[in-house]
């Protein structure tokens, strides 16, 4: 199932970059946005990722014009829009609740922005039909909104948001009301749609997996501040701090000590050399559970692999992978994840067994800061 290809390619050249500068919004004493600076590249799919209350929706709404920041600038291309009312900003928007107009049919909903722009009835009908085709809802134009399923409503909301060829598209957790399978399917479809339309897209979600799936770049937000910006790969493999490391993917964080000359140690083992230990006072080793493998201690090249030895405390079968927890020196709990194929002798593990786990040195992630988030 994929989004049909049609000649919307021409729009990509008219996508706009977004420049957010020093954007601040306070509610009483609470900073929803704290002097945020962000550059969204023309045509990219950027995700704002963060927990609830982090400010991601506030930022999106500010870009759309639905809340008024206390200070700052928002420019679409060269044009300052922060003082413009929402109906003059020309962005397409999809809400979590779809917000489809129940007193209009599917076609009327989609035609609404076209009518407002004075598009002739004939042309509007044509563009609505094309849009419906793009989201795979051909022929459903005359349906009433209540007759649609959740997934269908979502597509109508999408069609309505791009039919008038906006140069920026904003989406506020549009898939969170859908069930898991449909959500995963729609994630891929949205990605295809974006490739086709070439529109600059800002997407808000709290689901890190969704962010990793769909984005060109991810912006991690916490407490109204941008903590890290990068590609999914960057964010996952090179988290900048404990918050990002903990929020994205699973991880175990182990405290590291510094010897004063650029080397970091965990319980005596050398973890990393030539590390620029500039302003932080603590450092942590971040280990992704799937990067650990069971090894026979003594059989590994210490130049390539760091070995942790300990006792299995927990073992849980979870279908496609299994999850286990190993305690090291009775102090630290290392979680690791591995495949459950029949040949995997790791399946024979029991709580209480003594085991050695190896981490490839190239998979080492070090972050400044400690385990208190």
């Amino acid at each position: 199932m994929s989004i049909q290809s049609n000649n919307l390619h021409t729009e990509s050249s008219t996508a706009l970059p977004i420049h957010v500068q020093d954007l601040t919004k306070k509610y009483g004493e609470m900073y929803a946005l704290d002097s945020v600076n962000l550059e969204v590249k023309s045509g990219e799919f950027l995700t704002l990722l963060g927990p609830s209350g982090s400010g991601k929706t506030t930022l999106l709404m500010a870009i759309a014009g639905f809340n008024r920041p206390d200070s700052g600038s928002i420019r679409f291309g060269d044009e300052e829009v922060i003082l413009k009312p929402p109906h003059k900003r020309g962005v397409g928007m999809v809400f979590q609740s779809y917000a489809l107009f129940p007193h209009m049919t599917v076609a009327e909903n989609i035609a609404f922005p076209l009518k407002l722009r004075g598009v002739s009835a004939a042309e509007a009908a044509e563009r609505v039909a094309t849009a419906l085709k793009t989201v795979q809802l051909d022929g459903l134009g005359d349906r009433g909104i209540e007759q649609l399923s959740g997934g269908q409503k979502q597509r109508v909301a999408l069609a309505r948001a791009f039919v008038f060829r906006p140069r920026i598209l904003l989406m506020d957790e549009p898939l969170s009301a859908l069930d898991k399978k449909l959500r995963e399917q729609m994630q891929i479809e949205l990605k295809h749609l974006h490739e086709q339309l070439g529109v600059t897209t800002v997407y808000v979600t709290h689901d890190q997996r969704e962010a990793l799936t769909m984005s060109d770049r991810i912006v991690v937000i916490n407490n109204g501040q941008l903590t890290q910006i990068g590609t999914p790969n960057d964010i996952y493999n090179h988290p900048a701090n404990a918050f990002v490391a903990d929020f994205i993917g699973e991880s175990t964080m182990l405290p590291l000590t510094h010897d004063g000359s650029g080397s970091l140690y965990f319980e005596g083992s050398l973890i990393k050399t030539n590390y620029k230990t500039s302003d932080a006072k603590e450092w942590s080793l971040v280990i992704r559970p799937e990067r650990l493998t069971v090894v026979k201690s003594g059989q590994c090249d210490p130049e390539k692999t760091i070995v942790f030895t300990g006792v299995i405390r927990e073992f849980i079968f979870q279908g496609d992978t299994a999850f286990a927890m190993m305690s090291v020196n009775d102090k630290y709990n290392l979680s690791f994840r591995f495949g459950t194929d029949a040949s995997s002798w790791q399946n024979a593990m029991q709580p209480g067994d003594s085991v050695s786990l190896g981490l490839n040195r190239s998979d080492v992630i070090v972050i400044p800061g400690g385990l208190e988030l």
Binding site: A64, G65, F66, P85, P86, H87, R89, G90, V91, G92, M93, F95, S97, A99, L100, F101, P102, H103, F112, P113, L116, R117, R160, A161, F164, L170
Partner: protein
């Protein structure tokens, strides 16, 4: 009678256990409805004295009503005032309800309370106060004066109904409409209003009825050729029991019932 043994409550009481409740409820409902119903057949009685059941049936009191210029003028005045009140109070109430609901300002709670005061201040006070004030500016015995007073009495009702409707409505739709290019005003008229139209209709009917049935202010403020139906009826009730009133009451009951059923019908349509 095995219906009596069927469970009727969440604690497994049967209908039989609850019989006493059903009987009390039935009596109360009977007493609530009966008085108004009794009036109706009495209006068809031929006699000068009110009697039930009527010994002779006739329509004479209806003729009295329709042929009396006093009653007819009063009826027209009441209909006029009611309609004008409806036309004034409904938009006034909707605008106020919408503004206060949408604005996040701290002032809006206070304003809402302020606009509700006509319902809290005893009507007799408003009546004599308005009577006095109107006396000084010559607004007594005018349709305009009465409509203004009635509108102030009716708009809190409109506000309450509309506020409740807005609570059950997804305001995001207005935001979407604005993101798609509609100004705030356009979004309200094209998107929001059609979706609360049933509440608008109900509140308009309520406004009409509030004015049409209003007694106290009308007694003081309307008069002469602009006297309302209620004013004349009240005078008649106090002084002597004119059976014409039975006929008028019957008509008013029919009007009220029709309007009530209309709102029930409207709100059931809305729920779909």
């Amino acid at each position: 009678m095995n219906w009596l043994k069927k469970p009727a409550s969440d604690t497994q009481l049967t209908h039989g256990d609850r019989l006493w409740l059903y009987i009390i409820a039935a009596i109360v409902m009977f007493l609530l409805v009966i008085p108004t119903l009794i009036v109706m057949p009495m209006s068809f009685s031929d006699s000068q004295y009110l009697e039930f059941p009527p010994s002779n049936w006739s329509l004479r009191w209806y003729y009295e009503y329709f042929e009396s210029s006093k009653w007819m003028r009063a009826t027209i005045t009441s209909l006029q005032v009611g309609t004008l009140t409806m036309l004034l109070a409904t938009p006034m109430g909707i605008m106020a309800a919408y503004a206060l609901f949408v604005s996040g300002h701290r002032a809006s709670k206070l304003l809402f309370a302020f606009l509700i005061t006509p319902m809290i201040v005893p009507v007799i006070l408003i009546a004599i106060g308005v009577f006095y004030s109107y006396g000084r500016v010559g607004l007594n015995n005018t349709v305009f004066g009465l409509v203004l007073a009635h509108a102030v009495l009716a708009s809190p009702l409109v506000m309450i109904v509309i506020t409740s409707a807005l609570r059950n409505y997804d305001l995001n739709q207005e935001r979407v409409a604005r993101s798609l290019g509609a100004s705030r005003i356009k979004a309200f008229f094209v998107i929001t209003l059609p979706q609360i139209k049933f509440s608008v209709m109900t509140s308009a009917l309520l406004a009409f009825l509030t004015s049409f049935d209003e007694v106290i202010i009308s007694i003081f403020v309307s008069g002469g050729s602009n006297a309302t139906l209620t004013k004349h009826m009240f005078a008649a009730l106090r002084d002597f029991i004119d059976p014409t009133i039975a006929a008028i009451s019957t008509i008013m009951i029919l009007v009220s019932t029709t309007l009530l059923l209309a709102t029930q019908f409207i709100s059931s349509r809305e729920r779909k």
